[in-house]
Symmetry: C3
Subunit: 330 residues, 3 copies
Amino acid sequence: MKSFTIVEINELLKGELVGTCDEQITGAEQLERATAQQITFIGSNKFAKLWEASKASVAIVDAKIKLEPGDNRALIRVKNADLAMATLLEALEPAPPVLEEDIHPTAVVHESVVLGKGCKIGAGCYVGKNVVLGDGVVLYPNVSIFDDSKIGHHTVVWSGTVIRERSEIGNHCIFHINVSIGADGFGYRPSDDGRGLVKIPHIGNVIIGNYVEIGANSCVDRGKFSATIIGDGCKIDNLVQIAHNCILGRSCIMAGHSGLAGSVTLGDGVIIGGSASIKDHTTINSGAVIGAGSGVMGDVDAGKTVLGYPATDARDMLKQWVALKRLSKN
Amino acid sequence: MKSFTIVEINELLKGELVGTCDEQITGAEQLERATAQQITFIGSNKFAKLWEASKASVAIVDAKIKLEPGDNRALIRVKNADLAMATLLEALEPAPPVLEEDIHPTAVVHESVVLGKGCKIGAGCYVGKNVVLGDGVVLYPNVSIFDDSKIGHHTVVWSGTVIRERSEIGNHCIFHINVSIGADGFGYRPSDDGRGLVKIPHIGNVIIGNYVEIGANSCVDRGKFSATIIGDGCKIDNLVQIAHNCILGRSCIMAGHSGLAGSVTLGDGVIIGGSASIKDHTTINSGAVIGAGSGVMGDVDAGKTVLGYPATDARDMLKQWVALKRLSKN
Amino acid sequence: MKSFTIVEINELLKGELVGTCDEQITGAEQLERATAQQITFIGSNKFAKLWEASKASVAIVDAKIKLEPGDNRALIRVKNADLAMATLLEALEPAPPVLEEDIHPTAVVHESVVLGKGCKIGAGCYVGKNVVLGDGVVLYPNVSIFDDSKIGHHTVVWSGTVIRERSEIGNHCIFHINVSIGADGFGYRPSDDGRGLVKIPHIGNVIIGNYVEIGANSCVDRGKFSATIIGDGCKIDNLVQIAHNCILGRSCIMAGHSGLAGSVTLGDGVIIGGSASIKDHTTINSGAVIGAGSGVMGDVDAGKTVLGYPATDARDMLKQWVALKRLSKN
């Protein structure tokens, strides 16, 4: 377990230390649940009043908050409390679960697989023909990766995730639990006799850049032909759907339960709120923000914020909501 | 296979038996599909007219429904037909799939794992360092549980479910198929050079109480620091998202596709309808009901029912919907 | 790798070949990304202007589009460009990943299992007691199938999918990654002491017809009693929820993130848009269309298109949206 003095923590955060305290700090906890060995966090006056009753020995405090530490307790005043907490969490982060063997004997790894230096392949994993794993790739137990896929350096794949054939994954990505990469897109045509639907083969693949994170139980379908592409630095939350042939630029964010229908294009830095859905073949240009719960049915201009169902300019939508409320009270 | 006479069933349900029938009953089925060996269920007059043509030998009938059994058929009249059916289903429930070995030889269980009495660990499971499994825990095949997690007595974990390190799970819980517990929360900060996003480590964990049920493909993320907490008796449906640092009280219900963004607090007995979403950092107080499909953007008072997007008092929302409909017809 | 001359492709598509080109075509790609060995696709005038700069040697072109091929390049003019592309994709489709052994030695298959001719069972699969697999069934690695289930001929089950006990699956179905079939339905009753919820056993099963496709991370729950039924030819996208005792007719389509609450009935050919939700116990009659994002709270007549939340006749909903927009600008 990692352990720090408050002086060490203050040096790390480049804050102003007020008060003294000789506890060794081994973790972080919220005010009500903290013990003497834990540091806590006070980002607003709302929480400042909980400090006195808290058992925490030390708190990171936004410099604007007036507060005294008390006996054998300390405060670390910082300008940006959120950033300081992020820095501290990096220091306190425990090591991830260790896989004791490089390739677990129960893993099934095809003889043609190319392994980088320091790869770990956990129990029950399946790695198919001609897969290439970069240096430092970690496959936790029960991951399946299919033929001809490439996984870049230092990418981590958690249990239950499946990556279908011919996927190309960049470096430093994280795939969380039960992620589905490269399943067939959803495309059918009427059968010749008009009485049913015939599957359209999806012969494309999935291409994912560097530093991409994909949340638990999220899905990225393969292209019908060509690829579904996720740009560098995109962060995808849990239970998100990215359909065939979508193209995401750099550093896009998609929150939980959001979804892109087929062939949606996102520019760079697009933010999509939770449970929002985007119609197929639309383009959301760079820097646009889609509010939570929105249903977007057309293109969105760069930098614009839209909201609602059907989504429109956010200020207009707020006006619509106000107008409707007023109308109902007439 | 379990088998009952209709007299035995009537004793179980404490109903009024009308008519006679010598069939042995081995299952339950709806009116149109039932065979002579099956019991059926008539909860409203809408279904009573299907009795004559049904092949079922016996029906549980709400006492208010007028109906005669017919030759060699019987009715069991009860005051609360739903409760009687639940009681009957408990009696008819077949045994769950049996794992013939206590620890399947293909399971990978770290030598430090502590096993309660009567645990079963299925084929292909992975159980990491220092995991503690209580008495009677069942891990069906292909479950992964990571280091330092604790699973309480008689908890059942179905295939494909993954429980990440340091999770604390209570007694008598059920995790359905492909559940994801303890993946990192969704939190990033802008990089120092402003050109991307940096992952904030999530060093907290997940704490789940007793008698909690979590549906297929649902996700509960670990806390950023501190814990994501689910209280005793909560029932979570399929494809539900519970983000980092949410706190659920006792006996909350979340229906399919619903989601809580980060740091949402639910009181006790909160009911969240299907596909409803709750904004981060909001509090839904005890006994509140969130209608299906709602998008909740602020705190909800105890016992209140809200509805719509954006969610508001349910009666007000119904008025808004009526007003809008009327407006569009002007 | 498959390889075709453009003459061969033109014969396959029964089009009109304009221009000549001696490249062997081995794949399909969009205009901007294509190489000389790839065929591309021009379905509208919007894309025709990209032809000149494209490196593709040949394009399938809608007959209505005016375009000249250029030097050593060719166009294949067709009446129905979408259909032609589907036909071409069938020809170009690479073979699926090959499992080199019929039953991988790490798979756990109960001695009572009945295997059809040519079945493949991948690494780490679990197949329980009395399961029957038809001819040509493929279970990719890390699939779990529980006792007494039947899987029809030529059905393919991708990794991470779990099929619970007593499921009955038809022929030629495809289950994509991490699908959950037959988990318990979501049903509880208040406990006798009124202080909690008691689980209602779900003793029914799931019955799925022929040519059904179920997308990644989607869920179909078992019936409370009786069955949850999915008719022949239904196509279900990713992250879809189908609750206990739903009954789907033939050839229904459910797009990503859509969901049916308990005991919903769909007729034949119903189309449910992405993220749409249907209230429990409602009936959506044959040929009805539910717009994306809709929240359906009552029965829908055959052939009708509904939209919105709450869903109503689509034209009426569009009028409501227009009226509200106008109102907010007053």
